[in-house]
């Protein structure tokens, strides 16, 4: 059983992936942050290391995750994502933290 997850990318990563700002990835159940990012990196290997550290797999410091008006950045990678994300009603948003010029 898998789910089609909408993932929103910041413009720098969309340029790198040569993708639209929102992509669709097929993710196995249960749908977690880690599972979505695994599926994203499998589809777009050039994104490996840009969202999570390639070695530790931890979220890079200036990356944030949002969905359904909630900041999910500090949730555990294996926590289930909101049902609206799993159902494809809402995107899982990868955001570059607001900083710098």
């Amino acid at each position: 059983m898998s789910a089609a997850i909408r993932v929103g990318l910041p413009s720098s990563l969309a340029l790198l992936a040569r993708s639209p700002a929102e992509v669709l990835v097929i993710c196995p159940q249960p749908v977690t942050q880690a599972a979505v990012l695994d599926a994203l990196e499998a589809e777009y290997p050039m994104l490996r290391g840009t969202i999570r550290d390639a070695v530790t797999r931890r979220r890079r410091p200036f990356i944030r995750f949002f969905a359904c008006l909630r900041d999910l950045s500090h949730d555990a990678p294996d926590d289930a994502l909101p049902m609206a994300v799993v159902a494809g009603e809402e995107p899982f948003m990868v955001i570059g933290a607001i900083a710098g010029g």
């Binding site: 990563l13 840009t50 900083a99």
Partner: protein, 370 residues
Amino acid sequence: MTQVRLLIGTRKGAFILSADGARRNWSVSGPHFPGWEVYHLKGSPVDPGRLYASQSSGWFGQIIQRSDDGGITWNAVGNDFVYEGGAGTHQWYDGTAHPWEFKRIWHLEPSLTEADTVFAGAEDAALFRSADGGQSWAEMAGLRRHGSGPAWQPGAGGMCLHSIILDPVDPNRMFVAISAAGAFRTDDGGVTWRAINRGLRSDHIPDPEAETGHCVHHIAMHKTRPGTLFMQKHWDVMRSDDAGDSWREISGNLPSDFGFVIDVHAHEPDTLYVVPIKSDAEHYPPDGRLRVYRSRGGDDWQPLTAGLPQQDCYVNVLRDAMAVDTLDPCGVYFGTTGGQVYASADAGDHWEAITRDLPAVLSVEVQTLT
């Protein structure tokens, strides 16, 4: 037909400037990798169509890009830069032990003999090598295992390995420089390294014989004279005629011996170029006058001003932002933090800005294509 291709890395992308051998009319391609910092791009001397680029971001980390068609198209290759074994610690600004952490690649140096082999200088300081066109990287860990590694400290810009020079005669010899550890040489293909900093004097180091701790900004060599090295240190311009075993100061009559870039004329191995910067606190030219200085061997320096702004100029020229082509007369190029790229088609006698409004320039390389 002869062509010249400039590879420009900036704070917000890469640009490629092209001209014919006359070097008067330049076309600009870019930005490539828009919005990303591009610390360095360089072409393979074996296959000029093969370019490597270091694309990085404080948000998204390190990407290595490769082009096989001279920069028309690019593909992201490997970006796993993993320190070999236990990463260990170096000295932090406050003197405490700090774990080695990968931040970015400052410099890419393609092999002189194999298009798929390329070396990468990292922050925190380490040397990596790829033998498959950048797809995978392995640390040449002998450098960090040089006994002084735990005592290395970052300069203000980070603890970066920014200079890599491959000896064109001896394939086992290589030179690197690290801020603020100093210069190092291997004579066995990177297995073991020795510090080559004898003769350097740095005010912030109390021990005048200190083996490491010197803030080397850049080193340069002429390919026909690999035993002679030139160095722009934090302060002082230096020369070695014994492959770095000893150094002597050649700052001579420079208005300031602080600076970042240093390079050597393509056909005159004793002719070198620097751009003096006022001081370590004031990173712009003395008196607001942008001047390249040229010397035959050092000590006696001639200011080159024709075509360069001689008032109200307060830009910097960073360590990898100067290059020379191999045409005759030799072309000299440099980029500024103000986004100008200056070119001289007559070895520095006359200059013109060939583009003026790029993002801050981090690096300049040139390819002479025949």
